[in-house]
Amino acid sequence: MSAIEDAETVAQVSQLDAVVVEEHVSAWRKFFAEIAGSTKGLSGFVLLVLVLLVAILSDVIMPQDHTEQIIANRFLPPVFAGGEWAHFLGCDNLGRDIFSRVILSTQTSVAIGFLVVLIAMTIGSALGAISGYFGGFADTAIMRLADFQLSIPFILLAIIFMAIFGPGFWSLVVALSVAIWVNYARLVRGETLRLRELEFVQAARSIGVRDAAIIVKHILPNVFPSMVVMATLDVAWVIIFEAALSFLGLGIQPPMPSWGVMISDGRNYLFESEWMTLGPALGILITSVAINLFGDFLRDTYDPKQARL
């Protein structure tokens, strides 16, 4: 009697009515259905897509060349305050089109936002998982490093990096990544501590699965949803802080446009052209509102407490 025939006898004996409890809908379909059902989610999602499109297509959709300086257009007001359609938000102190610069800056800011969060998430989750899974010395070392770093004010940290590496795009990315990896490490460590005791991890150990494999294949995928929520909101934070650092002269250096740089330039000309400041500020506002709406929606829908075992 072959194994399968034997097994059918077993099935009869145990008399199981093999009815599955519920159908499994593809995760993506469920996701988009959720978005459609929530005002917050839908508006956040739409705005976010808009911002991303602008970032990607900025070179194409810019109405003017952002470097072109037309002296005659210095402090040209926006079209709704007596200006021209060609320069929708007017021009700055050097005659450059504000609207185009705002659009181009989107690219910079969004790139930094995602890049920083990606790096921080990778480093943070790796260290957090090691910390939580193995405990002992590794845990102590990593957590003390995290504590140490958190005790240094962020601006000071940024200045130190600028001093060491010189100002610019990559120093900025490193400084910001260093600032936020700790949050991910802590989150992942906590989740790892909890998941480690769950029986499916014990089962994997008793099968003989290697520790590294357990972390990568069992623990991290289960931590991922919580991390995504945090990451989404962090992108907004990074964008705002990049603006702050650039404003202070510690981040993006001119002539590369960034919202922070624009606000910094505009600071001196608030009476002549308030739109030099308001333009980029609006950019920051719309982007962070989009991200926060969507991030809030994610957190409400995929709250770890509900998604948990």
Binding site: L16, D17, V19
Partner: protein
């Protein structure tokens, strides 16, 4: 009718979930006499807990009591204002839950928690309340009650916590206690102690009626005079304990008893009930048990059986016992 303490009449409770409406309590009627111990038995999802909570009007969104009446000492609890219900809860009807660690507030001493309940329903001053609480703690078997009055819940073991909760439930001499799986979280030897205590106090303190909700037929058999069996929101059999155990009528009850391993029998072959419990959102047509029933016939899938009283007092909801 002075010999009916509680009369539940055609109670319907629904829970609204994303997948649909769960008919947790589906047209259930039952009565409890003063001082009687009635068992409410069923597996998970049968609606017994929902039933207990509905009687106490503890159902909150997404749950909703949709219909029926709950006549307690003559008046309908479902028709009262929330304030009136709050007066009754804790003093005339009290509830004991399964997990003592979540019932007691971890940041207050246990004595104070009981005293608070006591004073909410009476005019008694703090000192006298404390004395009554200490007295009650002694009655439930807490050693050195005066000293332990000020202890926090985490300083007690699970069994002791449950005793504290029983003290809280009995201190106002309620007419009815609803105990929802009171010993499920406890060890067997502690369970025996708690059941023994409950049994003793029920009679001596105030002739309190008890509705004992449990999935454990053994516990119910030891404690209860009458047993009500629930399946998928319906009450399918009601009879005295002896009758149910010696001569169960509904095929589900029969199957349930046959699938429980027992100490007093030699190694027997367990006969499990095939299939799984009916989906509470989309139950089978007619009798909800019919897909799993060895005796099902045509009528069973077409018409839902009603709980009928047989000549010997036994009540069953099954077409096998319906002459028509």
């Amino acid at each position: 009718m002075t010999d009916v303490l509680l009369e539940v009449d055609d109670l319907v409770t629904h829970f609204h979930t994303k997948r649909g409406v769960v008919q947790a309590v589906d047209h259930v009627s039952l009565t409890v006499a003063p001082g009687e111990t009635v068992g409410l038995v069923g597996e998970s999802g049968c609606g017994k807990s929902a039933m207990g909570q509905s009687i106490m009007r503890l159902i909150e969104s997404p749950g909703q009591i949709v219909g029926g009446r709950v006549l307690f000492e003559g008046s309908d609890l479902l028709g009262k204002t929330p304030e009136e219900v709050r007066q009754i809860r804790g003093s005339r009807i009290t509830m004991i839950f399964q997990d003592p660690t979540t019932t007691l507030n971890p940041v207050f001493p246990i004595g104070e928690q009981i005293a608070e309940v006591f004073r909410y329903h009476t005019d008694v001053g703090p000192r006298e309340a404390k004395e009554r609480v200490i007295d009650m703690l002694a009655q439930v078997g807490i050693p050195r009650p005066a000293e332990r009055y000020a202890d926090y819940p985490h300083e007690f073991s699970g069994g002791m916590q449950q005793r504290v909760i029983i003290a809280c439930a009995l201190i106002l001499h309620p007419a009815l206690i609803i105990a929802d799986e009171p010993t499920t979280a406890l060890d067997v030897t502690v369970q025996a102690q708690i059941l023994s205590l409950l049994n003793e106090l029920q009679a001596s303190v105030s002739n309190t009626a008890v509705i004992l909700i449990s999935h454990d037929l053994g516990v119910v058999a030891q404690m209860c005079e009458r047993v009500c069996v629930m399946y998928a929101g319906n009450l399918i059999e009601v009879a005295s304990t002896d009758r149910i155990l010696d001569g169960p009528k509904h095929p589900y009850t029969v199957g349930l008893i046959q699938s429980i391993p027992r100490l007093d029998m030699d190694r027997q072959q367990l006969a499990p009930i095939p299939g799984s419990v009916a989906d509470p959102i989309h139950p089978p047509s007619g009798c909800k048990f019919h897909p799993r029933c060895p005796h099902a016939f045509a009528r069973c899938s077409a018409e839902r059986p009603v709980l009928r009283r047989l000549p010997d007092g036994h009540q069953v909801a099954c077409h096998l016992f319906d002459d028509r």
